[in-house]
Amino acid sequence: MGLLSDPEYGSMRFIKVLKRIHSPLCFLFYIGAVVWFFLLGHREFNNDTYFSENALLPGLVTNEFNGEQAAKQFHNELLQELEDKYEDTDEMPVPWLVAKMSQIHLEVYTHNFTLNYPLGQGQVFKGTNVYGILRAPRTSSLEALVLTVPYRPLSSHQKGTTAGIALMLAFAQFARPKKYWAKDIIFLVTEHEQLGMQAWLEAYHGLQSDSGTFYTNLGSFWKSKKKGWEWTNHSRCLDPGTLKGRSGSIQAAINLEFHTPKIKYIEVKVEGLNGQLPNLDLVNLVHKLCVKSGIHHSYKNSYAWVRNRNSMDGWVDGVWTMLGMMSAQIAGVPNGNHGLFHRFGIEAVTLEGRDADDPAGIPPRVHQLTATNFYRLGTALESIFRSLNNLLERFHQSYFFYLLAATDRFISIGQYMPSLCLLCGAMLIRALSLWVTIQKEDDKKEDKKDNDKDKDEKDKEESKVIENREGLRKRVKGDLKEDRDKSIFKEDSDIKETESISIVSIGANYFLAHLIGLGVLNSPLVFSHIGAKYFDKPSEVSVYYGLFCVSALIVVISPFLLKLFRQRPANRDELTIINILLLIEMSTLGLCVGMHNISLGLCVCALYTPLALLVGVREAKGGLKRSLSVYLKQCICLLLHPLVILTVCMMVYSRVLFPEEPLLSALGRGRDAAMQAIMFSIVDSLIYGNWLFNVATTVLLPVWIISWQLLCVTVA
């Protein structure tokens, strides 16, 4: 409790200790973070899932679902219809769906939307969604639940969803005469996968590109805010159209992807746009009700029917499940239509039916499982919807930020955050120690006389300790000492002249680096335009090479940026301050991103913390050893350029996927994959509002530029 009694207590000693131990501390923090993260996969370190929302009352009702025959009939009719009329077209059987929903006596509507593709030659795509609303009796349509199925044509390379549509229709037929619904149910079939879903959701919430509604003509306080790049473009490319019929605010949504009723198990997909997750209660509900209905279910590497005998296997599985979840979250791309609901504050999950020979991988002992049928799927669906129907309030209990280690184990935000905090903490400690080295020079004049001797000894000791770990630090110390010795004999004015810090030039450089990032963010449209016009290349190629050229240009130019706006070369203190700012920005970025999307945050931090810790002020003179270490650092820095990371990752990944291919073609495949990945991230950012590309270009790239500058610029 010294804090309250004496705020000055021990601060000097603290600084000394900090200076001495900061680099091993940073290293320890990094190791600690990694260890902490992997420990989370173990049963001892994560928790059992539980229902926090009491009103859900899962599984309390007696199942009445009797639509098995109807589902079979719908399925056969739909397959027949598709084979007869939609064999060689990608269109959706809108008349058939409208007719079936009308016969069930739902309120049926169709919804048209248009996509003006933002890149390339400006193609226009059109689509239609069909939805039917079951109006709950005795309510004024204030709340709704959504059951949605994406329509996939026969020619699609993905698994079909015909069984899902049939099941949905059978469930609608079963649910329509029931008097217990307290919320409307919207049955929705979307076209063009996520595009249709996004368009429907935007139209439902009234986000439209033309004037007459929301963003364009809100009050003036609105207008000034929303003139951002993303929104203007966003509204231009996807025209969601208008809905003719609506219900109330949507409480929850279930997305079905069943290609056949005879699936072996259900995979519950949760990851949404920008790594957003549905409320844990909903995920838990789906898993629990699958158990109750006798359906096998899984999540990533965790299969509900597999029981691990020893805890080591469980740990490994848990870690793999966590890593699987994180890899799905990093890109921020939803892995099902459910993911787009999350941004609108609607909890949603996808139930994907999987066979034994699913492309996602063959789980252990899958061939021993009995296949499901429409009856069991229907009862599961009924239980889920009747449970959701019980909700009094929208999902607000339980967790919104979590990682899943198994179908029934989770790690809450409070448990995984320390790992990220340790990574960012390492950077902050380094920043603090750099800061006190600058501060030291101001203090030293007063301190000098009292403990000069003491200090010299200490410094020697310090340098000794640090010597082995980090050559650079020693130089800094030595230099400091030199400075100190010099300054004893010099006048104050002299000191100011050499040591003065020009905040303006530091700020200008910082600003310029971020401006470059903003430029890169906006460049893809230009590249794609140039590429299409002059080189006749598809936009992914032109964007990739465009970004590549810009990156190369940045590598060459950025060290000279520091020389702009200044008369004399940057001195040590200025570079140290830039280094501190870099560390602070990096750790802030890590924490901010990690708060929203832990996977991306953790990944960014795990990659860039070493870089940020390695970067330091570089000396002009130095031996071979020193220059070698600098070259090594520069190589690491180049490898950590966002574009390089992506390309290398894709190459490694394709090598892993196709190990039999020759190396060169694997590299080519990796490059193509990287092109596609960049293209997808740009298009996702334009259409859906995925911010991965935005974060990478506007924050990560400037940070990288500054670390590159620090590694290239030398001080006398």
Binding site: M1, L4, S5, V17, S102, Q103, H105, E107, R135, P137, R138, T139, S140, S141, L142, E143, R176, P177, K178, K179, H205, G206, L207, D210, S211, G212, T213, F214, T216, N217, L218, G219, S220, W222, G245, R246, G248, S249, R343, F344, G345, L392, E393, R394, H396
Partner: protein
């Protein structure tokens, strides 16, 4: 002794004839199929009160009479509704009602403090009908300027619309048996005889829509209208869903659980009307056969009505309809004016309310739109857009009264002329506000209800229109009642928004945290105050390792 008894009996008979001649009671039932899947059943019980004193009443409920005279109410409308009338699919009801509870009244011009009387009135009615009408307060009451006009006889030359009118709705109110029972007790036969015996609460609360109402107005007692009587109309509107009752063929036994055992002996007329217009598209046969079939031509629409006249002593009757074609799907033609209301946007910062009004008729229709937003949903007039334009030529007149936090709701009225065959979108934006933590209702994360908007229209056609004309009382007056235009007041659907809601487990956390901080601060303060500080001779600085060892040593001691 027997003589004396005879005299008493005679006196009783005389008194009864006198009262019957002064008060008049009628009961009516109107059934209309709403193709393809619904059935509309509308009961109305009309009591005409003659005589001014409320102390003596025979057929009319004394409690209502007392309320009217105590609070000097000229006209009163109260509806308690569960569900939403779907105008687009079902056409128009005889009496529209907003979901939840809705109360509006006109007070006599002699009333000095209207607000006080209004508060007392709502509190009294709350007790009478077991409804939460006591939540009606200044912060959810408005005085409609144009949208509502009295239906009864009023003195000429007084502006009733603004000063003495009060309107409030409680969209969150849930209506159930507890409201129906006191409502039934106001009827002269209660629920033992007559049409009211059909109102079996177990069955009527299983409908898609049910609404009970009490409407009191003044009617002229002579042609010159120098004197007036009160008319109390009690209504029940039900909409059955054939899917839910699991049969497209309906009968009284299926709908109400029993047949009708004659009319109320105290009523002067008990009639059942069944709308046969949908017979053309979805043919059905009535059994037993109606007494007569009346054709009514009103404002360009032909209606066929089957009429049953029920006597008090008539035998049990179970009216039913049998359809010849089962489950035929037909396309419904929407009525001339239909509307939709919804909330825009997502997130907890800004939003908008949209009211879409569609005029499917070939001529323009004049409407008055009344938007009534609670104080926690500040709508700003500057953001009002009609079809996306700030300056719209559709608005003929406009009234806006800004709300005040915790005191007064926002109130907007627009007189608009809707162009023919068009959809007009009225958008107004709002900001979400933070409430104080005691102001959140239970289940705060359920969301907050926005009440219905009122649309008062002058319909040029009587298509789908079933309302009773202003000068009529019974359903009989509907027949051949052509007018230049048909007044109607509709309620749009409500909406729900979720305001920024705190985590209500937070106060507990805060208490824990605050206690911890206090406890932590107390320790050192107590130490400083009670212990003596003694200088300790300092030795050589000890290394970190030594210190850690010392730490363990201390523990040992």
């Amino acid at each position: 002794m027997s003589k004396f008894r005879n005299i008493i009996f005679l006196l009783f008979l005389i008194s009864q004839t006198i009262s019957v001649s002064s008060d008049d009671f009628k009961e009516e039932l109107y059934i209309k199929p709403l193709p393809p899947m619904h059935l509309y059943v509308y009961f109305q019980f009309i009591t005409l009160i003659t005589g001014d004193t409320y102390e003596h009443s025979h057929l009319a409920p004394r409690s209502l009479k007392e309320i009217m005279s105590r609070f000097q109410v000229e006209e009163l409308h109260l509806t308690l509704t569960e569900g939403q009338w779907r105008h687009k699919q079902w056409g128009y009801p005889v009496m529209d009602a907003a979901p939840g509870a809705e109360l509006y009244a006109w007070f006599a011009p002699t009333v000095t403090d209207v607000n006080a009387n209004w508060k007392k009135l709502s509190a009294t009615l709350s007790g009478l009908f077991c409804a939460s009408l006591n939540f009606i307060d200044a912060h959810n009451t408005i005085s409609p300027k144009m949208a509502l006009t009295p239906l009864g006889a009023m003195n000429i030359g007084l502006n009733y619309t603004s000063q003495f009118a009060r309107y409030a709705s409680l969209p969150r109110e849930i209506v159930c048996t507890e409201n129906l029972t006191p409502w039934k007790k106001l009827l002269p036969c209660e629920s033992s005889h007559g049409f009211a015996s059909l109102l079996n609460s177990r069955l009527i609360h299983n409908t898609n829509y049910h609404s009970i109402g009490v409407h009191i107005r003044k009617v002229c007692s002579n042609n010159e209208c120098t004197n007036y009587n009160f008319e109390v109309k009690q209504t029940v509107a039900l909409v059955y869903d054939f899917k839910i009752i699991n049969s497209i063929n309906w009968s009284f036994k299926l709908l109400f659980g029993q047949g009708l055992f004659g009319g109320c002996p105290l009523s002067s007329s008990s009639k059942i009307y069944i709308d046969l217009t949908s017979n053309d598209t979805l043919p059905f046969k009535l059994s037993p056969k109606p007494i007569s079939i009346i054709q009514s031509q009103r404002g360009g629409s032909d209606t066929l009505l089957a009429v049953y006249d029920i006597k008090a002593d008539s035998p049990m009757i179970n009216i039913g309809a049998k359809h010849s074609i089962d489950n035929k799907f037909s396309v419904t033609i929407p009525p001339p004016l239909h509307f939709n209301r919804y909330v825009l946007g997502y997130g907890k910062e800004f939003g908008g309310i949209v009211t879409e009004i569609t005029n499917t008729y070939w001529a323009p229709i004049d409407i008055i739109l009344l938007e009534n937003a609670p104080w926690w949903l500040p709508i700003q007039l500057s953001t009002l857009r009609i079809n996306g334009e700030a300056e719209s030529s559709l608005i003929l007149k406009q009234y806006y009264s800004p709300g005040r936090s915790r005191q007064r709701p926002y109130h907007l009225e627009l007189l608009m002329r809707l162009p023919p065959k068009s959809t007009t979108t009225v958008t107004i934006d709002f900001e979400f506000v933070f409430l104080k933590w005691q102001e959140y209702p239970p289940d705060a994360n359920h969301g907050f209800y926005i009440g219905s908007a009122l649309i008062s229209a002058k319909l040029p056609t009587a298509k789908n229109y079933t309302s009773i004309p202003v000068d009529g009382t019974t359903l009989e007056s509907v027949i051949n009642a052509s007018k230049p235009w048909y007044p109607a007041v509709f309620r749009t659907n409500g909406a729900m928004v979720s305001l920024p809601t705190p985590d209500f487990s937070m106060p507990y956390n805060v208490i824990c945290l605050a206690c911890t901080v206090v406890a932590l601060a107390f320790g050192p303060l107590h130490n400083i105050c009670t212990k003596e500080l003694v200088l300790k001779p300092s030795g050589t600085p000890i290394s970190l390792r030594q210190r850690i060892i010392n730490l363990f040593k201390k523990k040992k001691d």
